[in-house]
Symmetry: C2
Subunit: 285 residues, 2 copies
Amino acid sequence: MYDSIIIGTGPAGLSAALNLKTYKKDFIWFGSKNLSDKVQKAEKITNYPGFPEISGQELFLRFEEHIKAAGLSITEKTVTNIMSTGKSFMVLADNEMYETKTLILCMGVMSAKQLDREDELLGKRLSYCATCDGMFYKDKKIAVICNDKKYEHEVEYLADLAAEVLYFPTFNDSQIELSNVKISKDMPVGLIGESFVEGIVLRSGKTESVDGVFCLRNAIAPSKLMPQLEIENGHIVVDRAQQTKIPGCFAAGDCTGRPYQYTKAVGEGNVAAHSCIQFLANMQG
Amino acid sequence: MYDSIIIGTGPAGLSAALNLKTYKKDFIWFGSKNLSDKVQKAEKITNYPGFPEISGQELFLRFEEHIKAAGLSITEKTVTNIMSTGKSFMVLADNEMYETKTLILCMGVMSAKQLDREDELLGKRLSYCATCDGMFYKDKKIAVICNDKKYEHEVEYLADLAAEVLYFPTFNDSQIELSNVKISKDMPVGLIGESFVEGIVLRSGKTESVDGVFCLRNAIAPSKLMPQLEIENGHIVVDRAQQTKIPGCFAAGDCTGRPYQYTKAVGEGNVAAHSCIQFLANMQG
């Protein structure tokens, strides 16, 4: 069992990881090695004390250097579900289960708009995880919505199984060229089906019948990840110690609310790590 | 009237100032140009994301560079009292009055131990401000406790007025050499007097009769600065938006509680500035 699992590799996750490392905690850090898209895309940052003016790309390189110098490593897996057993947490990442005493959630905020009826039909032929559920759609017709190019290998994996894939990338430079994959820019806005997904509604008003839908996104709504979390306006409710309502589960950065700022994220990541270290000490005591 | 006054030039104050500047607010920033003693004295910082390893002195230089690049200026005055009028705040700094719509308190935590009965006798021949109260001690005998060399010019000012000064610097390299100043290392631990200060008790147990006592410290307990503030274990109580219990008054950094960390301070300074900007917008609305 791990001491902690950090989810997310933006500034909050990095700050938390640096502090857990200093305190020699046994933890795993899930997320993308590209760190935060938001950091990378920022044109000019002038309010991160110590850097009078820095581009997002430069700050990203500095973060990478810091990760290397601190001897941290990132596990590039997508967490799709977390269960609390009361005494520990079970974290499902790319269909593998990890057990941990504590959690630090730093997954950012999901900018992608949800589909109409998404909440209702999740798990009913609507999935967020290709590796987890792909095999159920062998020789079927599916729709795949993808908002990050780094998930295109999952699209390929699904295309290998399914008979037909309606593919909706939210970016322009898709690398997918497969005979059974039909790329469309007419983005899905809603789901059709009573007790399970039977089709999708597109922005144009057109509908398509499918056997299942995959949403491959670089962020997952916290309420989906862990339904016991208290959520307010899409943000995880935390106290000043970054503690959520679930003992041993902490959250930091954009996922806890505005302002969406690098300094707020690094500060909260630091506080969350210190609260987590205190929690672990009390567990032992 | 200013939009805001920031008190303190540590990482929290700097972060707040950078953000108020970006939003073109009319504010004044009180504190020492030496910024934070704590930052300067830190040997090695490894958990400030973006700097894999940096000394306090190097970080100080980077902060100085950032202040210059952002066009910020520090007003080197010591704030000794703040009053809320309900609609604005009156800030007393080196005996001059400044009026402001909002306040951001980033004064750090006072590491100096208080004197026994200090709370009780403050304002009763016990003063924190040489410029404010020095003139009352013309030709008298006073004790002066000073924990920062940068206040020695105030000690000189007091020695110029008083007949006799018992001087207690908490540092080793005092520059004061005056015939009526007696330097002692036997530090005061308590005050004597019923309705006003009549003497001091020293660590050795000895006592000395004096007409008044000055404590010149680089930090002031928030409860002394502004008695309406809610204080818990010596820290200012704030919510997640860094708002204190007094509308328009925000606080950030070490003065709001542990962990005492640079990243927490810059994060909270950022959030306090954003809350302050929001508060100012609502005032106008």
